[in-house]
């Protein structure tokens, strides 16, 4: 059994549950008094402003914010209390787009996407479109949360889904600290079950990748060396195999922003992000090749902008009026949270970018 770490900001009725309050934090203080340059000022130094999209490669769809976990640093502020769930009608609109998009990757996320009551129907229908890489971001514990989810590994296999799962550390203490008591054991069990049906094995085409994001107010180390450490520890301790590790930087929004402020780490963290700014990462940030769709069908430059309610700067704002050519004419909306994607080797939902 896993135990909830805390309550969502929404449930707590925290001021930071409001996106405009988060944006105020990101625009005031050290960015207002000039101690640190804004992200726009920074990318102007290398003539990368305004940030513009390249060819669309990834269509990322958030099918709902409901989750069986309440992780400390969740940028979605997901949890069992979140009722924002994509309807079948919006899913049908997404399917029309999936059939016609030039994107080679479809990326389903949440919350726990599996908790959407129409998740399996959506996966079955979407997989018919024959998209090259079909990702489901699974938090692992959902597979063990209830009997009705126990067959998910088989279901994923049947539809050749690429499973991408969060795993903050190879030790119980660090994992449970971030994600709740019991999460480590449930995650290990779920990984073993995925391995048992063929996921993550060296020669297997059933892709299983892990996502690492730091458990506190610090940046991730080099992705390749973290992957080496994860592989060694999970193999030796639990016989678990996986393909790649994506090291993702925590962006200063939502619950992680709340944590930074409450622990008095906000300024130091923003300094660390700005000091680690890498102009080479800007060229490949995920918002340049991704469109993010929210549970209610609105379009965003990325999942983070979705959580800040920064809809695309385009005439096309909703999946029902989707038009890739028109969307490609837009400028990408930025704020200081974007420093999270350009620090060091860069960060995206697919890991490092530089």
């Amino acid at each position: 059994m896993t135990k909830l770490k805390q309550q969502s900001l929404h449930k707590r009725q925290s001021e930071l549950a409001q996106s405009n309050k988060q944006l105020e934090w990101l625009s005031n203080g050290i960015f207002q008094n000039g101690a640190l340059p804004t992200f726009a000022q920074k990318i102007k130094e290398t003539s990368q402003f305004p940030l513009r999209p390249k060819k669309l490669e990834i269509l990322q769809i958030n099918v709902g914010y409901m989750c069986n976990q309440v992780c400390e640093h969740c940028h979605v502020d997901a949890g069992p209390d979140r009722k924002e769930i994509m309807t079948m009608e919006t899913m049908k609109q997404c399917l029309e787009v999936i059939k016609n998009t030039e994107a080679h990757t479809l990326d389903l996320t949440g919350g726990a996407p599996e908790m959407n009551p129409n998740f399996r129907w959506f996966v079955e229908e979407a997989s018919k479109a024959g998209i090259q890489d079909f990702i489901v971001r699974s938090n692992l514990t959902i597979i063990r949360a209830n009997k009705k989810y126990h067959d998910l590994p088989e279901f994923f296999k049947k539809h050749n889904v690429h499973v991408v799962s969060s795993m903050p550390h190879w030790t119980r203490g660090k994992t449970d600290k971030q994600r709740g008591d019991g999460v480590f054991d449930a995650s290990i069990k779920a990984l073993q079950e995925l391995n048992a049906v063929g996921y993550g094995l060296e020669e297997s085409e059933l892709r299983l990748d892990l996502v690492y994001n730091p458990s506190g107010a610090f940046l991730p180390a080099d992705q390749a060396s973290m992957e080496k450490d994860f592989k060694k520890a999970l193999k030796e301790d639990f016989g678990i195999q996986f393909h790649n590790l994506f090291a993702i930087t925590n962006l200063p929004i939502s619950r992680f922003l709340d944590y930074l402020i409450a622990s008095e780490n906000y300024e130091d963290y923003m300094y660390a992000l700005v000091e680690a700014y890498n102009p080479a990462a800007v060229a490949n940030v995920m918002c340049t090749n991704t469109i993010s769709v929210s549970w209610d069908g609105y379009l965003y430059d990325c999942d983070f902008n979705q959580m800040l309610d920064l809809k695309v700067a385009s005439k096309v704002k909703h999946i029902s009026e989707y038009n890739e050519d028109l969307l490609n004419e837009r400028n990408i909306i930025i704020s200081q949270h974007c420093y999270g994607c350009t620090a060091g080797a860069g960060s995206s939902c697919q890991g490092s970018v530089a």
Binding site: W170, T171, P214, S215, L219, P220, A221, S225, F230, Y271
Partner: protein
């Protein structure tokens, strides 16, 4: 008011402004030392953490605690490294006890 201000660590690079050649040489050397070599960057981070404690340098302790966390080093590993430093430091004091014993033996043996 303390002599040490954690924010000063951010200014470490400014050392170069008052002596560009020496500062640049130092930071080049420093960067090279911590690259992956016969020792892994992870092992070097733990050595640096242990030395930071024997040197009792608050900036270094800040820097290499954070560096260790970034590398996924656990608090148990970090504390063991600190004990290695502490053991060497206390051992260095204690081994001088042999000098004391030698002197006692010579004067009063």
């Amino acid at each position: 008011m303390s002599y040490y201000d954690p924010k000063d660590l951010r200014k470490f690079g400014d050392i170069t402004e008052w002596s560009e050649e020496l500062g640049t040489k130092f930071f080049d050397y420093y960067g090279k030392v911590f690259e992956e070599g016969a020792l892994s960057a992870r092992e070097k981070s733990l050595i640096a953490l242990a030395v930071a404690h024997t040197e009792q340098c608050p900036y270094c302790i800040d820097a290499y605690t954070k560096d260790g966390l970034q590398r996924g080093i656990t608090k148990e590993e970090m504390m063991e490294a600190v004990h290695v430093g502490a053991a060497i430091r206390s051992g260095a004091s204690l081994v001088h006890g042999v000098m004391m014993m030698n002197k006692v033996n010579k004067l009063d043996g």
